[in-house]
Amino acid sequence: MNRNCGNKLFPVYEVGSLPKLNLRVRAARAESVTDQEIAEVQNLAQKLSIETNEVTEILKHQQAEPRKFNLQEDSALADFNALFYLKLQEAAGLDFVYDGEARRAEMYRHVARKVAGFEDLPEMIRSRGPDSWRMSACVGPLSLKENSLHSLIIQEFDFVKKHATKPLKVPLDDPYMIAVMSDNRYYLESLRTEYKKDPRKLRYEAKRAFTLALAEKVIRPQVEAVVERGATWVQLDIPAATLDLEHIPIMVEGVNAVVEGITGSKFSLHLCYPRRVSLAEKQGYQLLFPAILDLNQSVNHISLELANADQYENDLAVFAEYKEQRCFEIGLGVTDITLEQQQKGTLENAETIRDRILRASKVIGDPSLIYVAPDCGLRQLKLDRCLKMYQSIVEGAELARRG
């Protein structure tokens, strides 16, 4: 049966993020928060028995005089947001919880801005349609900026640990993911002479050196810090795991460099949007094999986006095929978290989720290996949709337990 959850089948968790509270977003733009936004938060907080006096006072003050929060106010709102999401997850019936990444601006920037050796590119880089991200370029040897570990993870973790009544799963960026989203000028230039006759080898070795430096200098210190403080489950986020099919071994090496020798915690990976048009013989999660067989043995759980494609049998078959060589627990994505579904107003019901869980259990052949989650973090969605999604997932998992 699943560790950490007694004999309960199909434990439920959130992958990572929840949307920022509207009133924090509005205040960040120096716009006045609305009565409705204040009332909504108060009502929800009351149901969760969360004290709101201090926050309400700040919000009323901001409403009367629209401006950005000062540091003290911002910190109080971040604490409130983190506690609010933690208690929402607990109340919703999730078995492993965290704070919805309430203190993190965005997964990449949260880390990139605290890395010495990085500098921002002047413009946002387009990614999906008009959506863009602020890319950083690696321009020198890497390290975490002085005193940044506290604001990066320690403050967040200590706060959640203090207030949680359920087991935690701590989501952290994976080094390979940061490497893929960054410009690798420093390592390309450092290795150019050595590999001048082979540009493909240069690109591979430069990315490898970059990833391993990120692992050692940026990510591992965060993992060590939370494990030292009592974290028992750390999840590394790698949405880009199958982005470059020839570089998947670098991803594996990066993960191993992060977790090697660290004891006392379970480690998992979150992967999503695998290359379904790979142009190779394999596609989807097949692309990870055999490389991920070399993952450190302490990485025993892989969380997968699956609902978006709804091809559970195809997508999971490869994990069943390799089960004798390497048996991973599966974090089963059971709800599509894309904006398209939100715009259509469609959401999987508990019966659909039950069916997906049972389909996956049949493919994997061992229901005790299955955990249940949304496809990915919910940062892009509206909060009320997230709550409905939690409800469906928890109910769907319960239906699946009944068979």
């Binding site: 880089i125 387009r126 999906r128 863009s132 142009l279």
Partner: protein
């Protein structure tokens, strides 16, 4: 030997363009403001290309979110499908869903291009997907086989190219990343080659314009002889993926050669003299009709400022080469 230079793909967006797009997306700005900014930035980049003596001028493609978008959005019988990564970039496209056979049609790129700001004297270049790449990145239904599908797509692309030439465009570049990516991944087979061959037999020759087949994001080395045999005037090779000594094993005497030696996906700036020396060595050894220096792909992956830096490098290296 004549050495020239030109850009080969979408240019990086300016921060101002990002901002107006972001405001429009969030309902705080208008599409008119976006279009105005796109036009302004387009004019600026076309003018910059003139100032640094680029041999072909391109629309910087600020109206494109991906190369396949005009085809997917405008061609009858095509719908927009699921989101996928654009090769190994943290950039996405939506798969065209092609319900074939498609009726022959043209003019689908014009809404996205600023033809009125490009010269009509034959020095402007427009970039289209190759029929093979378009087919391989799409979901195809309704055709008896892939050869029929690529034939249909090539006929449409040829019509589009011919239509653009009637507007004064002097060069058509067909982008062909899929073939070399498959080559690099070891999944290329003889059917792939036959499909590209068939496509280029149909759209490779365009009356009144020269054509180029531009490969990128993969190693062209082992298939250069095949690429040379295709009916296009110019062959583009990604020099950040293909070894120079592989490129220099071949003779290009009846072809132009466009070498993507500037890495559009890196802010690292190449040494101008070193690139110039490499081009001179290639020219001496391989005798192409013309030798062009290009970025390996569009500069969109590192933004506006770094695009300008690569453009300045093109100018500087061209000056060295023609001294």
């Amino acid at each position: 030997m004549y050495f020239g230079a030109y850009l080969t793909g979408a240019f990086g967006q300016s921060q101002q363009l990002y901002q107006v797009r972001n405001e429009a997306k969030r309902g705080r700005g208008s599409q008119e403001a976006v279009l105005a900014r796109v036009t302004e930035d387009t004019k600026n980049i076309i003018q910059l290309q003139r100032e640094v003596n680029q041999n072909y001028l391109i629309d910087p493609m600020f109206n494109f979110f991906n190369l396949l978008q005009p085809f997917a959005e405008q061609v009858n019988g095509v719908e927009i499908g699921l989101q996928e990564n654009w090769f190994n970039n943290n950039v996405f496209y939506r798969r065209p869903q092609i319900h074939g056979p498609l009726e022959l049609q043209s003019g689908f790129t014009k809404k996205y291009l600023h033809l009125n700001h490009l010269p009509a004297d034959g020095t402007a270049m427009v970039i289209l997907p190759s029929p093979y790449t378009l087919m391989m990145l799409s979901e195809i239904t309704g055709y008896p086989n892939r050869m029929t599908a690529v034939t249909n797509l090539a006929e449409i692309l040829h019509l589009e190219a011919q239509s653009l030439v009637s507007e004064g465009i002097g060069r058509i570049q067909y982008d062909e990343p899929v073939l070399v990516v498959k080559q690099s991944l070891g999944s290329l087979n003889t059917e792939d080659l036959a499909l590209l061959q068939r496509g280029m037999d149909i759209c490779g020759k365009v009356t009144g314009a020269s054509t180029s087949l531009h490969t990128y994001f993969g190693d062209a080395g082992p298939i250069i002889p095949f690429l040379i045999s295709l009916p296009v005037d110019c062959l583009g090779i990604d020099g950040t993926e293909t070894r120079l000594n592989e490129i220099m094993k071949h003779n290009y005497s009846k072809k132009e050669l466009a070498l993507g030696l500037l890495d559009a996906r890196s802010t690292s700036l190449e040494d101008p003299q070193q690139i110039a020396d490499q081009l001179k060595a290639v020219a001496k050894k391989t005798s192409p009709e013309k030798l062009w220096l290009t970025p390996n792909a569009g500069t969109e992956y590192r933004g506006f400022t770094h695009g300008i830096k690569k453009l300045d490098l093109l100018k500087e290296i061209k000056v060295i080469l023609n001294e």
